[in-house]
């Protein structure tokens, strides 16, 4: 086991170009041993490419990859001691579920009975105990995904690389599996890189969150940091079930208690729908354009008189109706400030 003071995973200026187009443009990233890093980013940002680079499935064109203190840049995948779930839930089509899960152990010469035992346990952990004798062709999408996860979890590698491992699971199963993942990671003490676009998953599971955009890291920080102090408008809007409202700093919404010096024209203010106060007086006036009900909550989209639309979360019970005239208010502490040109966060002056 490597000394605990070295990073679980470190990328230094990593560039990669699958299909001859550069996708990762020099990433620097350090993940501590035992840390769970969630990678977020829009479709096509390079998240899968990043995982493949770490796994050794994608060659780097520059930079270096270190796992548990070892430089693995030149090593083949098998020598990197990583475990991976592919976004496509790849499985061996000719092997049964149990054989698929046990594969990694058996090729590493774990005695067959031990391998089967551990594989059975791993399958059970993701709720696939009843499927062990099926082949991948006989599984539903979610079942296949869980088997792929079991495949990755059955070993105890230095780094787990999970590419949207829960995307095909329902909420309940997802919560369960998440807990399972967290427990496993804590037990094994392995570093984990987890790609997802489930906000809740990212927030709940991640020790830190890395936001990737077009092959460049926009921000890396704890969920709280990323949520509360998004480094850019991109990060700000990217997180949240309904994106943060971004408006010109000079109106029409003026956060209550804002220093006027902050609200200059080349800036933008941002605030999340969750913190918007909808009232019938006081604030920027507008008309409710659309209301989406999501369980106990509802999102009201208010068309302000000044032009922009603001989303606001309200209780589903007693929500405003479409066409209602409302005012939009927000407090200065809940408001973020960005440079309108660069999109960079401005720490209040």
């Amino acid at each position: 086991m490597p000394p605990t003071d070295v990073a679980g995973l470190r990328l230094d200026g990593v560039r990669a170009a699958p299909g001859d187009v550069e996708v990762l443009h020099g990433l620097d990233l350090e993940v501590a041993r035992g840390e769970l890093l969630v990678v977020l980013g829009p479709s096509g940002a390079g998240k899968s490419t990043l995982l493949r680079v770490v796994a050794g499935l994608q060659a780097t064109t520059a930079g270096r990859v270190e796992i548990a203190g070892r430089d693995v840049t030149g090593l083949r995948p098998g020598r990197r001691n990583v475990s991976m779930v592919f976004q496509s839930h790849a499985l061996f089509p000719h092997l049964t579920v149990i054989e698929n899960v046990a594969f990694g152990l058996e090729v590493r010469d774990v005695p067959r009975s031990v391998a089967r035992e551990r594989a059975t346990a791993a399958a059970a952990a993701v709720g696939c105990a009843h499927l062990v004798d099926r082949r991948p062709g006989q599984l539903s999408g979610g079942e296949r995904q869980r088997v792929a996860l079991a495949r990755a979890l059955v070993r105890e590698p230095d780094v787990f690389l999970l590419d949207e491992p829960l995307s095909n699971l329902d909420a309940e199963l997802r919560v369960e599996t998440r807990a399972e993942l967290k427990a496993l990671q804590t037990r094994v003490g392995a570093t984990m890189v987890h790609v997802t676009h489930d906000q809740t998953e990212a927030m709940v599971l991640g020790d830190r969150i890395a936001v990737l955009r077009d092959g460049v890291l926009e921000q890396v920080g704890t969920p709280d940091e990323v949520w509360r102090t998004p480094a850019t408008t991109f990060v700000a809007r990217f997180l949240g079930a309904v994106a943060m409202n971004l408006l010109p700093a000079d109106g029409p919404v003026v956060p209550t208690g804002a220093p006027t010096a902050a609200l200059v024209p080349d800036r933008q203010i941002g605030f999340r729908p969750e913190v918007v106060g909808l009232g019938s007086a006081d604030g920027a006036a507008g008309v409710v354009e659309r209301v989406d009900v999501v369980g106990e909550d509802a999102y009201a989209y208010v068309q302000l008189d000044g032009g922009p639309t603001v989303a606001a979360r309200v209780r589903a019970v007693g929500r405003p109706a479409v066409g209602d005239a409302v005012t939009v208010g927000v407090g200065w502490p809940e408001t973020h400030l960005f440079d309108a040109g660069s999109g960079q966060r401005i720490t209040e002056p």
Partner: protein
């Protein structure tokens, strides 16, 4: 590129054998290890290459010599080729071979493909068909020759007997005389092609396997879009099977220069006169073994070889078209 793990990119310069199903490139072992493996297998590869190339080169060299298998060869430069160009028998053999290849090769492939596409779905049919397809291989080609002779006998052969059913005075129902398989030049050539259809079994089985290995999903996609039989074949099946199809086409084209050998020798003996079914292979055989003009035969072989290369080149163009089929 660093000295890291190498990931092969899809080989774009390789239209023939492609991996239509592969989305992600294949990981290879580290270069170093690969080199070791290569080194280990080198003598073996060399041996095979030598086994393939030596006889081949000898043939080429012999094409420029006079050699009767007894006396030492004597160099004659291009004489053999000059003589070939003037040899009416060679010209007949050449055009016979080309005609045969032009008709039999596509015909065989189309029939085999048709059967494969027709039968790939039915388990029972597949098993039976596969067995039937393999049967001809269990009987030596030369023994078949004799059977064909009997089958094709213009008077007593069952094929013509059958054709004559219902007809009068030894004519078919349509009033035509049945084909004079062994004596009419055109009919004899047709007979040889007919015989060559026999050995489509292997092609059929390979196509069957290929078809069955195609992913079912794309056919579901096509089914939902109501792509009809021909559309599916043209836009989905053919492009996806293209690598194998081209491979078989290539092989068949090459083999076709020889395949007609045994039937032509045993059944028609190169006739009807003068040389209706004298194919290049028979020409080579006769010159080499009957007339002991080995150098001359080697020159003819060299021509066959050129033809083969031409066929390969042609196929490369064809594969491009096949792939384009799926796009239009």
């Amino acid at each position: 590129m660093t000295d890291g793990p190498v990931v092969d990119e899809p080989m774009v310069d390789e239209p023939m054998i492609d991996k239509p199903m592969i989305d992600k490139p294949v990981v290879v072992e580290r270069d170093r290890e690969h080199r070791a493996l290569g080194l280990m297998l080198a003598p073996y590869v060399l041996g095979i290459v030598a086994l393939v190339l030596i006889p081949f080169l000898v043939t080429i060299v012999m094409a420029f010599a006079d050699y009767d298998l007894v006396r030492a060869p004597s160099w004659v430069g291009l004489d053999n080729f000059v003589e070939l160009a003037d040899d009416p028998i060679f010209r007949a053999a050449l055009s016979n071979s080309l005609l045969f290849a032009a008709i039999a090769v596509p015909l065989r492939l189309v029939i085999a493909l048709g059967l494969a596409l027709l039968l790939h779905r039915r388990a029972a049919a597949v098993g039976t068909a596969r067995t039937a397809a393999m049967l001809p291989y269990a009987v030596p080609e030369i023994a078949y020759g004799l059977l064909w002779l009997w089958l094709l006998n213009p008077l007593y052969g069952p094929i013509n007997q059958l054709l004559r059913v219902g007809g009068e005075n030894g004519a078919t129902v349509l009033g035509r005389t049945p084909p004079q398989w062994l004596t009419d030049p055109v009919d004899a050539r047709a007979a040889i092609i007919l015989m060559s259809l026999f050995t489509i079994g292997e092609t059929f089985v390979i196509l069957l396997a290929t078809r069955r290995a195609l992913p079912g999903e794309v056919y579901e996609l096509a089914a939902i879009e109501d792509a009809t039989g021909w559309d599916v074949v043209r836009r989905v099946t053919l492009p996806l099977m293209a690598p194998v199809l081209v491979l078989l086409l290539l092989r068949d084209a090459i083999l076709s220069l020889q395949i007609s050998f045994v039937p032509a020798l045993v059944v028609t003996d190169g006739g009807p006169p003068p040389y209706s079914t004298t194919y290049l292979s028979l020409f080579v055989y006769r010159n080499a073994f009957e007339y002991l003009r080995y150098g001359y035969a080697a020159a003819a072989t060299a021509v066959m070889l050129l033809l083969t290369l031409a066929a390969v080149a042609l196929q490369w163009r064809l594969v491009r078209r096949l792939r384009w089929l799926g796009r239009t």
